[in-house]
């Protein structure tokens, strides 16, 4: 009896091992790290699509969501050590220069892209390239737009469609103050620089001069910066703009503040739509219209591509070839770009999608229902979407601006010119 039992047990074990082995053979396991939980579901959908279309190259995708800092730091350490990195990883654009330092360990993706190279917006691909190689594939353009709270503005007698310049915007703010002094026209950011980036690109400048790719130079004490900072400081002084709680609208506190509807306008990249629908929710439903952002002078670029996430493939791992094929499929193909809009609410990099009316004007789409105007109408009407450079010194510059400079000029109300000189010196001091 005992023998029989043990025999049965052995048989069971052998069978289970065999069944596991056969399952392994069928699908290649790929690990993916991301720092935004919504991206999981998106990748799983695409993995299913890939498995349907490629019966001979089945994959078994495992997505791991980690915190922003945690994920990027872990990835850096893994790349430094040469082991422990995932097959595929989402990397935020601000962190991308850090990861590009490890380009030896990343797969150049242009060979896998083929024709898709020409279909995606070039300036976005440049962000994730180094030495002629493409190392990351973007989700979106992140075109900066302005969300206007129509009810409130109309009640104050303001027609948001007539706002063209920042002066118009400021005057509208004064009018709004007369109507209700507790409301604000907009906000200034102290822990990031979406709005400032838009302004300085309109004035033809950037935070960094990378005309020499190997030796980028910080350009903080520029005329453009001075004008952008002075403009925003005046807003704060005159009570037109509030210093955003939480440092910017894309933080817990910031989103809670947006939900109070105390701001008449928010200038943010288009991906902020998804924060409205998934996190801010009913409080702002059908209240905001999307419109091109103001400019200093007519003719300047109305938008700039900000933020973003590039997906990289790690070469240290065995299955990098398949991982790269899947990544290109999941991020660059037209199907994927349609899904990027439908599922994630991002403005996809594949411009062909912008013209597909059945996709962009789908009345069942959550984003189309949530806002009073259509995002793609705005995108198609914008004269130019500029870009900001992302270089090896950008993380250092951003750290200083986000921790010190904005607090000095918008909270301590320090003289802008003086603060910018100090910032320039401090950043150069940090770049040893």
């Amino acid at each position: 009896m005992k023998k029989l039992l043990s025999l049965a047990l052995v048989l069971c074990m052998v069978l289970s091992i065999v069944s596991f082995a056969s399952a392994e053979e069928a699908a290649t396991k790929l690990t993916l790290w991301t720092f935004i939980s919504q991206h999981d579901a998106y990748y799983y959908t695409l993995a299913d699509m890939w498995n349907e279309q490629n019966p001979d190259k089945q994959i078994e995708l495992e997505c791991v969501t980690l915190g922003y800092d945690e994920m990027h730091n872990k990835l850096k350490v893994a790349l430094q050590a040469g082991e422990g990195a995932p097959d595929i990883c989402d990397v935020e654009v601000g962190q991308f220069p850090n990861i590009l330092a490890y380009s030896d360990s990343l797969v150049p993706l242009q060979d896998y892209m083929g024709d898709l190279m020409n279909q995606l917006v070039e300036s976005r691909l440049n962000l994730y390239s180094k030495g002629g190689n493409l190392y990351g594939i973007p989700y979106h353009i992140g075109a900066c737009v302005t969300f206007y709270q129509v009810d409130l503005l109309e009640a104050a007698g303001i027609d948001y469609t007539t706002i063209v310049t920042w002066d118009d915007w400021y005057n509208a703010g004064l009018k709004l103050k007369e109507y209700d002094s507790t409301k604000y026209m907009g906000n200034v950011e102290t822990s990031t620089q979406w709005q400032t980036a838009l302004m300085i690109t309109q004035l033809g400048s950037d935070f960094v001069d990378n005309s020499d790719e190997d030796n980028p130079v910080a350009t903080i004490n520029t005329e453009a910066m001075l004008k952008a900072v002075e403009t925003q400081q005046k807003w704060v002084e005159d009570g037109i703009a509030v210093v955003c709680p939480g440092g910017q609208v894309d933080t817990e506190e910031g989103k809670a503040y947006v939900a109070t509807n105390e701001m008449a306008s928010i200038t943010m990249p288009l991906w902020y739509m998804s924060r409205f629908t998934s996190e801010i929710g009913d409080a702002c439903y059908q209240k905001y219209a999307i419109a091109p952002s103001p400019v200093f002078e007519v003719g300047q670029n109305q938008s700039v591509g900000l933020g973003g996430t590039g997906t990289v493939v790690v070469k240290d791992n065995e299955n990098y070839d398949l991982a790269a094929q899947f990544t290109v499929f999941a991020k660059a193909s037209k199907d994927a770009n349609i899904l990027i809009w439908q599922e994630l609410g991002f403005d996809p990099c594949n411009k062909e999608v912008w013209a597909m009316d059945e996709v962009t004007h789908d009345p069942d789409n959550t984003y189309n229902q949530y806002f009073l105007t259509n995002a793609f109408d705005v995108l198609n009407s914008i004269n130019e979407i500029a870009g900001v450079a992302s270089t090896s010194i950008s993380p250092t510059i951003n750290t200083y601006l986000d921790t010190t400079l904005w607090n000095e000029v918008y909270i301590d109300m320090m003289d802008p010119a003086e603060a910018l000189e100090e910032a320039q010196a401090a950043i150069e001091d940090e770049l040893f």
Partner: protein
């Protein structure tokens, strides 16, 4: 007869030991060989292995760099092979040493070796997880470590460190935090423990539980809750408390002292209970007879505290002070959680460890610099504590006693 037997066995064992001695010598040599290989690596071992296997450029991952066109000699090639197979040598060495003890089982039961066997888990943990990283850190602090290579640069990391203004901000914050927490976390827990310990205290069990519960909470969860409490929104708890006194809401985490207040409050909330526990244990060990004697002499409770409890609690106080200094200087998580990340407004929440983290993990190519920061912190904390322990008389001054 039995005695004769034992002597015979002992002689047999001695012979066996001598005969198998070569095994342990070989084992130690192999282990040393493997460890030397480990230390001749520069940077990542995994990358070295990969480069070796694909016979590409090794000089980036090896201490000996090559000039253009130069190649490794035959002897160096043999050494590189041994570096590649360092794990085999190390495992082999350990196995041989183990084999020696298996053969000479009696040694494990001898009085000379058994104690070391019991200490082995600690010794191994210490060597692998403390000493090895420490030695590597010292090595790295003299190097510039980039994504692909490690280069010796002498004292440049230290020069950069001492000329960097942000470093002094971090030191200032850490020292300030340490001083404040030490000043609060010793007298108050002592007072509370004394009160809880006294017989006239009612519901002392309940109070003990309430004061101790925060110790068990996770600093991450507590940090997030404190961040919400100190939020700048009007509805945040601390701003509402200000409202009760008719004060305007403020940006708690954007002011130098209010931010420090938030961090210190979190620390005190969490650690008061723990320190009370230490003091309770200290108080319990004071014999009752001393108090009774004092009663007979007519001492009041203040005198009893000053002349009995305080002097006899000195060892506890020194212990609490030592760990508080260390914990204060090494603080990081509290600041990280309260500010939501490692960058706080104007670096008001930046600590030395936060500074280390910024360079070691948030930036690239700065592992060497971060190692230097770590060593400076270690040296500083050691110096302060040694000084403190000398002043309080725990170390030194033994001869005169």
């Amino acid at each position: 007869m039995q005695v004769m037997n034992m002597i015979a066995i002992k002689t047999q064992n001695k012979v066996k030991e001598r005969k198998t001695l070569f095994i342990v010598i070989l084992g130690v040599l192999l282990l040393a060989y493997g460890i030397t290989g480990l230390f001749t690596l520069n940077g990542s071992g995994a990358k070295f292995d990969k480069a070796y296997d694909s016979s590409s450029d090794l000089s980036k991952y090896y201490f000996q760099t090559l000039d253009e066109g130069e190649s490794y000699s035959l002897l160096q090639g043999a050494w590189l092979f041994s570096v590649r197979s360092r794990n085999i040598w190390m495992i082999g060495g350990v196995l041989l040493i183990a084999a020696y003890f298996v053969v000479n089982k009696h040694l494990l039961y001898s009085q000379g070796i058994a104690p070391y066997m019991f200490m082995l888990p600690f010794i191994l943990t210490f060597l692998i997880f403390f000493l090895y990283p420490l030695v590597t850190t010292i090595k790295m602090s003299f190097q510039s470590i980039t994504a692909t290579s490690a280069e010796w640069i002498g004292f440049k990391n230290y020069q950069n460190l001492f000329s960097n203004k942000t470093f002094y901000t971090a030191v200032k914050n850490s020292v300030r935090y340490t001083v404040i927490t030490c000043a609060l976390l010793i007298p108050f827990p002592l007072l509370f423990a004394y009160m809880l310990n006294s017989a006239s205290m009612k519901y002392s069990g309940l109070f003990k539980a309430i004061l101790f519960v925060p110790v068990l909470s996770s600093v991450v969860v507590a940090g997030i809750i404190f961040r919400m409490m100190f939020s700048e929104l009007d509805g945040a708890m601390m701003n509402q408390i200000r409202g009760l006194f008719g004060l305007e809401p403020i940006y708690w985490l954007k002011g130098e002292w209010t931010a420090m207040f938030a961090m210190v409050l979190l620390c005190c909330w969490r650690w008061t209970g723990m320190n009370i526990l230490y003091y309770m244990a200290g108080l319990k060990s004071i014999p009752n007879s001393l108090y009774e004697a004092a009663d007979i002499d007519g001492a009041n409770s203040v005198q009893k505290f000053r002349c009995i409890a305080w002097p006899l609690l000195k060892p506890t106080t020194i212990y609490v002070l030592t760990i508080s200094i260390y914990a204060g200087l090494a603080m990081f998580t509290e600041s990280y959680m309260i500010f939501g990340n490692n960058s706080s407004p104007k670096n008001y929440g930046l600590t030395i460890v936060g500074y280390l983290y910024r360079y070691g993990f948030e930036k690239v190519d700065k592992f060497g610099f971060a190692s230097a920061v770590g060593l400076v912190l270690l040296t500083g904390a050691l110096l302060i504590n040694v000084l403190q322990l000398r002043i309080t008389g725990v170390i030194g001054r033994r001869k005169g006693d």
